[in-house]
């Protein structure tokens, strides 16, 4: 019966494997003859969530079914080999109900996943559209290889790496952005079931299945949306008056005399002075570079077909205005998926997808001369965007870089250029041939080709110069083309049978092969004659630089996989993979050598016990109780295409090119081996209204890739070796509850939460120190892999006398000591040698959260429904690089209002040190002054939908909705936004290097089904 209305449902199909079937009558009754004592019945009906029900012995069952929006324990998860319901898989795999994708059209699939799965920490890279998110599935498994899960789209490994990086600072060419969320039928996140991908499965996997026609009738979905992106709240930088005071003070510490300072044009307050109007303004530079922007989108999906061929076609167009002025993206995507019944024994599938995106961007991150957002923060507020005459008439000509040598941010947004044009084509064909009743041969071939063309131009007008090794760079020009070609095949034999009606056995023997070739070519030019000449060829010949990289890899994986189930109670899966790869060394130590190649041999086993199918729980209040455990080894082959090889690179002698050794080869180089243990429990009670999943896991990475220090006498600084170890343990839980379940209204709520702790277990050297944007990380045995490492600041010396009494000093480059004075930061002298230096550094924090997750509420009332998703991250520390620049007080950068409280005279009690040009005492060094708590709670999305009552036969359904993204964020973080990820590496997480922040956006849309 219907769980809400308590009315019987007619026409529900009931199945027991392929053995017995039945259907409910108008009173909702059915009977089925089971050949076995116990087993699972599968119930399916249109408009309802499918459901699996355990039966033992002969029994009378009363079964309720829920609407499609209900999150059911019988939800499907797509595993590498087949689709399972969560009820029967022994793995920790989560399938995602993607019904809300229609309201989330502006997001890339990776960002969409935020908050959807317990244990998957999705950190959006920045607020730039299309840029996507860094995905950390169950924390950290590697230091230098990727930590991103493997992505599989329609059975083909999706190369999700950005080839060669972007030449536009802190941009990221996000391959996943080529998939429209609405083109996705299902996303399954495999936390441990990625064993089947062998040496690519170490970080788990995300399996994406795109649209297919589920029924034969033609079905058309059309949606049109429009929206608005709002500027974030400005950071509180000083106004012109405060800034001028600050400036005169800092210039004085530079050694300028009072008279010199008074002679500066910005100090002359006489309106008759010709420079008066140029230097007496109150410009809000943040408003000059950021804007509110609009977004629009059209999408069409058609599915249908006949007995022989079914198709699903989609077309989409999106335009999204960026936060930074003059940035936006136009994206076009097309997908054509077909399913063919070629003969009685043979079926085929085809997938074709093409995406083109044309995006205009600007530099972001640590690009202090060209990042408009950063420049807007530090630019003197008394200056103006355009030139101005002596009488105060503003010219249409933009102002040049100023006397303080800071670029005009508006020159970057108006005259500068940065384009990214990305194309991606994906095509695949799959065949399925039934050899015998029990044996099937299937094969999938996929081809991906993608190309990203970028170019940028930094004008000479308005922008601070760069210094090359042999010239000054006024204007800067660049172009880059990156491409990826990959060929993938997966061929397997599947044996599937049921013995004695209770034993189900499926075994697969197969092989995967992947060839990938990436190419990057770039050219940089300088000093084109005029700012109208913007392409690289116009740069000065002698200064032009070209470069690039070509990477190739081949990978072959053979696998054997067995799934066995008994009586729908006990499930066992085992698999073994053997991989060979062009990246492995010829003598990789833990592999098996066959011929000239080394094969990894990675086994895994998983088992589950569906306790609720046992007789003892028959008729109890427990609808589902399942114990799961899995253990196995997966690998990470992101170890460099040629690291194992002895190679030579070019070395110039003047203009002649010679060849020299690239480094120490490592013919024992191998995959990182991740030993994954997972123990989990699934529970559903109250007629499945309350569901709980709980998992404990432990991932131990052996053979961790490390840059090991090489002896001096080797001639090289380091050698890449498999000599580290890392361990991550964690917990995750998800709970969902249908609180109300009535005919006219329902209320669902749920929470998922994840927690992990990583620690380094083995390193060849004492410690590894890594730097990113002024932050220092330490990696050492016993602590986390990427902890912030710096000085501890304990306030400001109130007087010279207090400072003198503590007697701390710094050592200057020439070896002499300089003592701290009043107004300097009081750093902790950890080794008590009275000198503040590297030996006084300590662990300051950790960018990894203590726990993270989301909760949601879904309320529906009649035709209205309201969805709200909150995401949170707690306990992650952030290095606020931006604030370090805005409160460092070491140069002419404008600062935040906080520095008005800076130390000025002996006896002044404050927590802001004095302003000194160049910061000789290192008061603004990397210390806990800049480490902030990055915890946040965010109303990630909220959507209100109204289903319009349709009486026409022509329309099947229609709805209007309004949704909002990032509308409310609760955080103590003092930057624009606490969520960002400037790099793929773990050494760089938690560093806010002035990226475009997340924007708050609202959208309204209309969707109609024909």
């Amino acid at each position: 019966m219907n769980a809400a209305t308590k009315k019987p449902i007619r026409g529900v199909s009931i199945k027991y494997k392929e053995i017995a079937a039945s259907i409910t009558d108008s009173a909702g009754n059915f009977s089925i003859n089971l050949p076995v004592k116990s087993g699972l019945l599968l119930l399916e009906s249109d408009g309802y969530q499918a459901k699996e029900v355990p039966v033992s012995g002969s029994a009378k069952l009363k079964i309720v079914m829920y609407d499609e929006n209900f999150s059911s324990p019988s939800e499907e998860a797509v595993l590498p080999t087949a689709t399972f319901t969560k009820t029967v898989t022994p793995y920790a795999a989560t399938g995602i109900n993607i019904n809300d994708g229609w309201n989330r059209y502006g997001e890339t699939p990776d960002a969409y996943l935020q908050g959807k799965v317990a244990g998957l920490n999705v950190i959006r890279r920045s607020g730039t559209s299309n840029i996507g998110a860094a995905l950390f599935l169950r924390g950290i498994n590697s230091l230098y290889a990727t930590n991103q899960p493997l992505i599989i789209v329609d059975g083909v490994i999706f190369d999700n790496s950005s080839v060669g990086g972007s030449i536009i600072s802190n941009n990221y060419n996000n391959p996943l952005s080529t998939i429209d969320v609405r083109d996705i039928d299902n996303i399954s996140v495999l936390k441990d079931a990625s064993f089947l991908y062998g040496t690519k499965g170490g970080n788990g996997a995300i399996i994406i299945s795109t649209i297919r026609a589920k029924e034969l009738g033609t079905k058309i979905d059309f949606a049109v949306n429009g929206g608005f992106n709002a500027m974030p709240k400005n950071l509180p930088v000083m106004n012109a008056a405060d800034y001028r005071t600050y400036l005169s003070e800092i210039l004085k510490t530079k050694g300028m005399s009072d008279a010199d300072i008074q002679n500066q044009p910005y100090m002359n307050d006489d309106p008759a002075n010709p420079a008066y109007y140029a230097y007496h303004n109150q410009t809000n530079w943040q408003d000059k570079v950021m804007r509110n922007a609009y977004t629009k989108n059209v999408y069409l999906k058609v599915t249908g077909g006949d007995n022989i061929a079914r198709y699903a076609i989609s077309l989409g167009f999106l335009n999204n205005g960026g936060l930074t002025k003059n940035t936006d993206i136009s994206k076009y995507n097309m997908r054509f998926n077909g399913d063919l019944n070629l003969s009685r024994r043979m079926t085929a599938t085809t997938n074709l997808a093409f995406t083109f995106a044309d995006q205009e961007l600007r530099d972001q991150g640590s690009a202090s001369k060209t990042n408009p957002l950063f420049l807007a923060l530090v630019k003197a507020p008394f200056l103006r965007t355009n030139e101005v005459s002596a009488s105060g008439v503003e010219s249409p000509i933009l102002a040049d870089r100023d006397t303080l040598n800071i670029s005009n941010p508006v020159a970057i947004t108006q005259l500068g250029q940065a384009f990214n044009k990305a194309y991606r084509f994906f095509g695949s064909i799959g065949f399925n041939y039934t050899l015998t009743k029990k044996i099937t041969l299937s094969s999938t071939i996929g081809i991906t080709y993608s190309k990203v063309r970028e170019n940028f131009f930094v004008p000479r007008k308005g922008v601070t110069t760069d210094t090359l090794f042999n010239a000054i760079a006024y204007s800067r020009l660049g172009t880059q083309v990156t491409s990826l070609f990959s060929l993938y095949n997966d061929t397997r034999l599947t044996y599937s049978a049921i013995f004695k009606k209770q034993h189900s056995l499926t075994a697969r023997l197969g092989a995967r092969y992947m060839y990938a070739k990436t190419e990057q070519d770039y050219g940089l030019g300088y000093n084109s004659a005029i700012d109208e000449l913007v392409s690289v060829g116009n740069g000065v010949n002698g200064l032009r630089k070209i470069g690039g990289e070509i990477g190739q890899s081949k990978w072959m994986s053979t696998y054997l996989d067995v799934d066995y189930g008994y009586a729908d109670k006990y499930f066992l899966s085992a698999n073994l993979t053997a991989d060979a790869s062009s990246r492995f060394g010829k003598n990789a130590s833990s592999g098996v050598k066959i011929g000239s190649n080394v094969f990894s041999l990675l086994p895994s086993v998983a088992a589950s016990w569906l306790i609720s199918s046992e007789k003892m729980l028959a008729g109890s209040k427990i609808d589902l109780l399942k114990l799961r455990a899995s253990y196995g080894i997966a690998g990470n082959d992101d170890i460099g295409n040629y690291t194992a090889k002895q190679t030579y690179v070019s070395q110039n002698l003047l203009g002649m090119q010679g060849l020299v050794r690239a480094g120490i080869a490592n013919d024992q180089l191998q995959w990182e081996a991740v030993k994954k243990l997972n123990v989990g429990l699934d529970l559903a009670v109250l007629k499945e209204r309350l569901q709980l999943s709980f998992d404990f896991y432990s991932n131990k990475t052996d053979k961790l890739i490390v840059y090991e220090q090489a002896p001096t006498a080797s001639g090289f600084d380091y050698v890449v070796s498999n000599s580290g170890g890392l361990k991550t343990t964690g917990l995750e839980a998800s709970l969902s509850y249908r609180i109300l379940n009535k005919k006219n209204y329902s209320w669902d709520a749920g929470i998922n939460i994840g927690k992990y702790k990583s620690s380094v277990t083995r390193l060849p050297d004492d410690k590894i120190i890594t730097n990113f944007a002024g932050a220092t990380y330490i990696t050492k045995v016993g602590s986390g892999p990427n902890e912030f490492y710096g000085h501890q600041a304990n306030g400001v010396y109130v007087t010279d006398a207090v400072a003198a009494s503590e007697g701390l000093s710094i050592r200057n480059a020439d070896g002499s000591l300089t003592a701290f004075k009043g107004g300097d930061i009081r750093f902790a002298d950890l080794n008590s040698d009275k000198i503040i230096d590297d030996n006084d550094k300590m662990i300051l924090g950790n960018p990894n959260p203590d726990f993270y997750g989301s909760f949601y509420n879904r309320v529906s009332y009649k035709r209205f429904s309201l969805n709200a998703l909150f995401t949170f991250s707690v306990g992650n520390d952030v290095y606020n690089y931006t604030r370090a620049q805005l409160e460092g007080m070491s140069n002419a950068y404008n600062q935040t209002d906080a520095v008005r409280n800076r130390w000025r005279t002996n006896g002044q009690v404050t927590d802001v040190p004095k302003a000194t040009w160049g910061d000789p005492m290192g008061n603004s060094r990397f210390s806990n002054r800049w480490i902030e708590d990055g915890s946040y709670l965010r109303l990630r999305t909220v959507t209100l939908t109204y289903d319009i009552r349709i009486r026409s036969k022509f329309f099947k359904n229609a709805s209007v909705y309004a949704s909002g993204n990032n509308l409310v964020t609760f955080t103590k973080y003092r930057g624009y936004d606490p969520e960002f990820s400037p790099t793929e590496s773990i050494f760089g997480q938690g560093v806010d290097n002035t990226l475009e922040p997340q924007v708050r956006s609202v959208q309204i849309g209309f969707r109609v089904g024909l």
Binding site: N641, K645, Q646, Y648, L654
Partner: protein, 582 residues
């Protein structure tokens, strides 16, 4: 299972293997003579990166170069002999980067030769060149670090690193014996002959002088070993590399400290020291375009820094106050040494007036004037800056830093030869080459012009057996010019009064004179520390080096306090830098 899959495909290896495309795999590296040339060029490209460390370790630790108030603590340590292993200026790693490449090249050249991918002559020339570079780098490491890992195997794999047998440690004397034994067996010790593919002109530079001179290296090794006749033999081969057939300008001028090679200190007006010639002459040796004759006659091994190519000339930053950070300067000790010489204008035969005598015996050495210069009141080492600063101290382009690294020139050769000859008992010969030349010294009536109508049949020559035989005859009756007739000696070329020596203990006195002349002529060219150390070890007299360093530090405005400690350290034979092993 895996094998099963493999069998179904034609070749498993092909399925899996890839060759790098932007780098070169070993399979495509050593195939033919052009690959061999690329390997040689690669080695020299790496050698270029040693320039800064080479000059700093040899000069700042010596007695002629001092720190400035801009110097950091690490340079100070180097100058005051208190450097610790973490000092970045003495990191041995870049030296071993050259060595690992040399080892790789040597091992693979042997394989190429065995596989007939290189002809005899191609193999001999290139193998010897790279072998010599390795010996030269090792000699430098030995001089500075004493006991060092002596790696000769190509360390290719990580497993090779873990094998300590690849990294035996040897002390300086053992190292020198090993290097000598290896280097003297090199099959080819001459320069690359004309027509070799490696001799070419690239970006306006003739590559001829880019390559190490193997005979000079061997001479130096023998000099360290104490095998003076063998050293003299090797030096002599270079001294007479041309002649007596072929182009006579070459055999009169090349490497012979010739009166004709436009490398003298000279004046345009008699008795007027303000008329010192700036161009041509001795100073211009350091500025000359690399292609001209005089450059070719003086320079034996020199590598240029070009404005368009990396590495960037390190000397501008190190030495120049304009466009650089002026971190080293001439030591007061060095300036005193130049100022203790007597500059003469003419070797006049006529009797000058008293005033003329005064002006003709000026208390300085004009080579000092050209070795450093006062810029904004501060003494600046100039030898490396002439291509950058020019005569007005204004760079043509402040960011373009052309320059040269001088590794060996004719004066170096003459002084080292003299050192060997002196120790071999040929004091007069050594004296002659350092002072006013063979012809002058071996002439009972010196100073006569070549065109003087004299019979020189039995004068102006040493009458010594090889390698001490020099014939400098230049006479008119009968007209005769031997290859050494233009030789005017190191001091002669600098127009200095010859050194007057006491008559006792000629070996020591002549040697002292030579070492002193090394300072005057070769200051800052990276010879000093090795010259001092070699003699201190030879004489078993640590005070020889300790006192000189003591004097430098004592006179230094910045390091006077460190003088005694440095002296005591050096007196205790604690001469070597700490070696950073990892």
């Amino acid at each position: 299972m895996a094998t099963g899959i493999c069998v179904t495909f034609s070749s498993c290896k092909k399925m899996i293997d890839v060759e790098p495309q932007t780098s070169v795999g070993i399979a495509n590296m050593y195939r033919n003579v052009f690959d061999a040339d690329a390997a040689v060029i690669g080695v020299y490209g790496k050698v270029m990166k040693l320039a800064k460390a080479y000059v700093l370790m040899n000069e700042l630790r010596g007695d002629l170069m001092d720190i400035t108030s801009n110097s950091d603590a690490n340079l100070r340590q180097l100058s005051e002999h208190t450097a610790t292993a973490s000092n970045p200026y003495i990191d041995p790693q870049p030296f071993y980067e050259v060595i690992v490449n040399c080892n790789d090249v040597l091992a693979n050249f042997k394989k190429m030769y065995a596989a007939s991918k290189l002809k005899d002559v191609e193999f001999n020339q290139r193998y010897s060149d790279v072998g010599a570079i390795r010996s030269w780098v090792y000699l430098q490491l030995g001089i500075h670090f004493g006991t060092i890992p002596y790696v000769t195997n190509p360390v290719v794999q990580l497993s090779d690193l873990k094998d300590s047998a690849n990294f035996p440690k040897v002390s300086l004397p053992v190292l020198i014996d090993s290097l000598t034994a290896f280097t003297e067996k090199l099959p080819y010790t001459d320069d690359y002959p004309t027509g070799t593919t490696l001799l070419t002109t690239v970006d306006g530079y003739n590559t001829q002088k880019f390559f190490i001179n193997k005979n000079i290296l061997l001479g130096d090794l023998y000099l360290w070993q104490g095998q003076y006749d063998k050293a003299a033999d090797r030096y002599k081969r270079v001294l007479e590399i041309n002649g007596p057939t072929g182009n006579s300008e070459l055999w009169y001028n090349q490497y012979r400290i010739s009166s004709f090679n436009n490398a003298s200190i000279s004046y345009t007006r008699a008795f007027d020291f303000t008329s010192l010639v700036y161009t041509n002459g001795w100073r211009y040796l350091f500025e000359r375009p690399q292609a001209d004759n005089e450059f070719n006659w003086e320079m034996i091994w020199s590598l240029p820094f070009d404005k368009n190519f990396e590495p960037v000339n390190p000397f501008v930053d190190l030495m120049s106050p304009i466009g650089g950070s002026y971190q080293v300067q001439p030591a007061q000790q060095a300036m005193d040494l130049w100022n203790s010489q007597t500059q003469v204008y003419v070797f006049t035969a006529a009797t000058p007036t008293a005033g003329e005598v005064l002006r003709d015996n000026f208390p300085l050495d004009s080579r000092g004037v050209f070795s450093y210069r006062l810029i904004n009141g501060k003494p600046v080492i100039m030898k490396y800056l002439y291509n950058y600063l020019g005569s007005t101290n204004v760079p043509v382009n402040i960011l373009q830093k052309p320059g040269k690294w001088f590794l060996a020139r004719a004066a170096t050769l003459h002084l080292h030869y003299s050192e060997a000859a002196n120790r071999a008992g040929k004091y007069k010969l050594a004296y002659a080459l350092v002072n006013k030349g063979i012809g002058y010294t071996y002439d009972p009536f010196p100073g006569n012009s070549v065109s003087a109508n004299r019979d020189v049949t039995n004068i102006q020559q040493t009458f010594l057996p090889y390698p001490y035989d020099f014939d400098a005859r230049g006479g008119q009756a009968p007209a005769y010019r031997n290859t050494w007739y233009r030789n005017i000696g190191i001091r002669g070329r600098a127009n200095l009064k010859p050194v007057t020596l006491p008559l006792t203990d000629s070996v020591t006195n002549v040697e002292n004179m030579i070492i002193s002349e090394d300072a005057l002529e070769l200051a800052y060219e990276g010879e000093r520390w090795s010259d001092l150390l070699r003699v201190a070890i030879r004489r078993n007299d640590p005070s020889f080096i300790a006192d000189k360093i003591y004097d430098k530090l004592r006179k230094s405005g910045l390091s006077a306090g460190a003088a005694t400690a440095a002296r005591n350290k050096l007196l205790a034979r604690d001469w070597f830098l700490p070696f950073k092993f990892k």
